[in-house]
């Protein structure tokens, strides 16, 4: 096998391993999916308390928030918890002493996260569409897809930075990733415009890639703005990804080196 072939083979085996795990935890997967669907529906149902004139638009507004948050939080969580998961299983030393580039391992984790996130989001989208008989005639799907692709990168970058924390401290790290996720949820305007946030936290909204993703997705789907209009936002997202992903990788490698010095790769201690 050529060196590149070997790395690709390894990348695929990380993706396959994770799908094997999904299959083994299928019961839980279904339960979580069920919960996600219900959660999305209950959020969208809030719109039915509004006067009929605002209803349709609000349903879509809220559904976009719920779906995107679902996708982005899966990306962040899968990438960020990959290390703590392997540590918990006791496989981390085995995976990390393999003769592959760390980039390959992490690319495998990210690729799985994207595939898995897309699959789950599609299921929820279908469920919501059936439930509400939504008409999305004005939507520009190409624009929405472009935004989704653009937002994946910065979230993978954030996930990588989140994944570093459990390398540094076993339990605190895993706790910290939850906190980060919570803050992103609060400041990114998932279910409300960021203008409703108190001034002292609103500045954080501008740092979260999710804010731009949501804004762009809403403009594409609600206003039918085409790719050309959304290009500046997409470029912004893409650029933030170009900064965050290499930053995440670099930080990850530093943290791994640190863990090898301090003996924190091990499951216990």
């Amino acid at each position: 096998m050529s060196p590149t072939g070997r790395e690709l083979h390894a990348l695929w085996s990380v993706v396959r391993r994770n799908f094997h795990l999904v299959r083994r935890y299928l019961g839980w997967e279904l339960v979580f999916l069920f919960y996600n669907v219900i959660n999305t529906l209950t959020i969208a149902l809030i719109a039915f308390a509004l006067p009929p004139a605002d209803r349709d638009r609000t349903i879509i507004y809220l559904t976009i928030g719920a779906l995107l948050w679902n996708f982005l939080s899966i990306l962040f969580q899968e990438v960020a918890s990959s290390v703590s998961w392997e540590r918990w299983e006791g496989t981390i030393e085995y995976s990390f002493m393999a003769p592959i580039h760390r980039l390959t391992y992490l690319a495998g984790v990210c690729m799985y996260a994207v595939l898995y996130g897309v699959l789950r989001t599609i299921v929820i989208l279908v469920a919501v569409a059936l439930f509400f008989h939504i008409h999305l005639a004005r939507a520009d799907w190409l624009g929405a897809a472009m935004i989704l692709a653009g937002s994946s990168l910065p979230f993978i970058g954030l996930g990588l930075i989140g994944a570093v924390l459990p390398l540094l401290s076993t339990e605190r790290g895993a706790q910290a990733t939850q906190v980060i996720q919570g803050v992103i949820l609060l400041v990114s305007g998932i279910y409300y415009p960021i203008s409703v946030l108190p001034g002292w936290i609103r500045w954080m909204s501008h740092l979260s890639p999710a804010t731009y993703t949501l804004e762009a997705a809403r403009r594409a789907i609600l206003n039918g703005e085409g790719p050309l209009h959304l290009l500046p936002l997409t470029i912004k997202l893409f650029l933030s990804g170009l900064i965050l992903v290499p930053l995440g990788l670099a930080v990850f490698q530093l943290a791994e080196h640190w863990a090898m010095r301090n003996g924190t790769l091990k499951r216990s201690g």
Partner: protein
């Protein structure tokens, strides 16, 4: 030189002045105290090609830490370590291609089957999955594990059965240096014998060098060409089993030599004396 090949005369493992410490934090009242204790305190070692070197030592003496340094999982505080002439820090990637490790705790995805775990391993080491499965089935048959055990989640297997799969997993990547950290702990006498036979076979048939940590004196005597005795982070004796017995326990066995070298016999005598008095 091809990345995977090594010069035939190279020493398999060579290290000098290896120190490794770990910090532990604890709270005393409102103050955080960091204490640093050393697992290895200036270890020198050399393992010849095709040799099986045994490492014997009491619990906590630094055996696994030493293995982790060779496995590129830990970075020493001081000293250097080379595997087939390659530095474990600078040439980490190339070293990794030459080694594999079987650890005490079988590190598997426990919900996955052995086959799924082996597929993952094969992927990481650039072995084709089909070939890996055939090879693993063959290895496991010679270790006395039934085929159908490969198809069920690993958590349903006994510790010994899991350990056998860990050994097969390590072997199917044909490592030039095999690191065995208590591979037979928890195995029944027959299985232990199977594994030992197997280790000897692998050494005969393949061109591999092994470092073996164990608490089983008979196993050490049977498998190892030389034995290093480590105590409180220092290697305090090295030699063939016969040499060690001759120098430290003439008329006795390896166990007597071990107790003598680690000073545990003194402690035992003292304890017995106190018990009598």
């Amino acid at each position: 030189m091809d990345e995977g090949s090594v010069s035939p005369n190279a020493v398999a493992v060579e290290g000098q002045g290896l120190w490794k410490g770990f910090s532990t934090k604890k709270w005393v009242g409102t103050k955080r105290q960091v204490t640093r204790s050393y697992a290895l305190k200036g270890v020198d070692l050399a393992v010849k090609r095709r040799e099986i070197l045994g490492i014997l030592g009491p619990n906590g003496s630094g055996k696994s830490t030493l293995i982790r340094l060779m496995a590129t999982l830990l970075i020493p505080d001081q000293g250097w370590l080379k595997v087939f002439g390659l530095d474990v820090i600078r040439d980490r990637q190339r070293v990794r291609r030459l080694i594999n490790r079987v650890s005490v705790e079988a590190s598997f995805f426990k919900k996955l089957t052995a086959r799924e775990n082996l597929a993952y391993a094969a992927g990481l080491y650039g072995v084709s999955n089909a070939k890996a499965q055939v090879e693993a089935t063959r290895i496991l048959a010679s270790l006395g594990l039934q085929r159908d055990k490969l198809e069920v989640p690993l958590e349903t297997l006994s510790r010994g059965q899991q350990q056998k799969i860990a050994i097969a997993r390590a072997l199917l990547t044909s490592p030039t240096l095999m690191l065995l950290d208590e591979p037979t702990t928890g195995l029944d006498p027959t299985s232990r014998r199977d594994v030992q036979e197997f280790v000897l076979n692998v050494r005969r048939e393949h061109d591999s060098t092994m470092v073996l940590c164990t608490h089983d004196m008979a196993e050490a005597e049977r498998l190892c060409d030389r034995i290093a005795i480590i105590h409180e982070g220092r290697i305090i004796a090295v030699g063939t089993p016969a040499d060690l017995i001759a120098s430290y326990a003439s008329g006795g066995g390896l166990e007597d030599a071990f107790f003598h070298i680690t000073g545990l016999d003194q402690e035992r005598l003292r304890a017995e004396a106190e018990g009598d008095g």
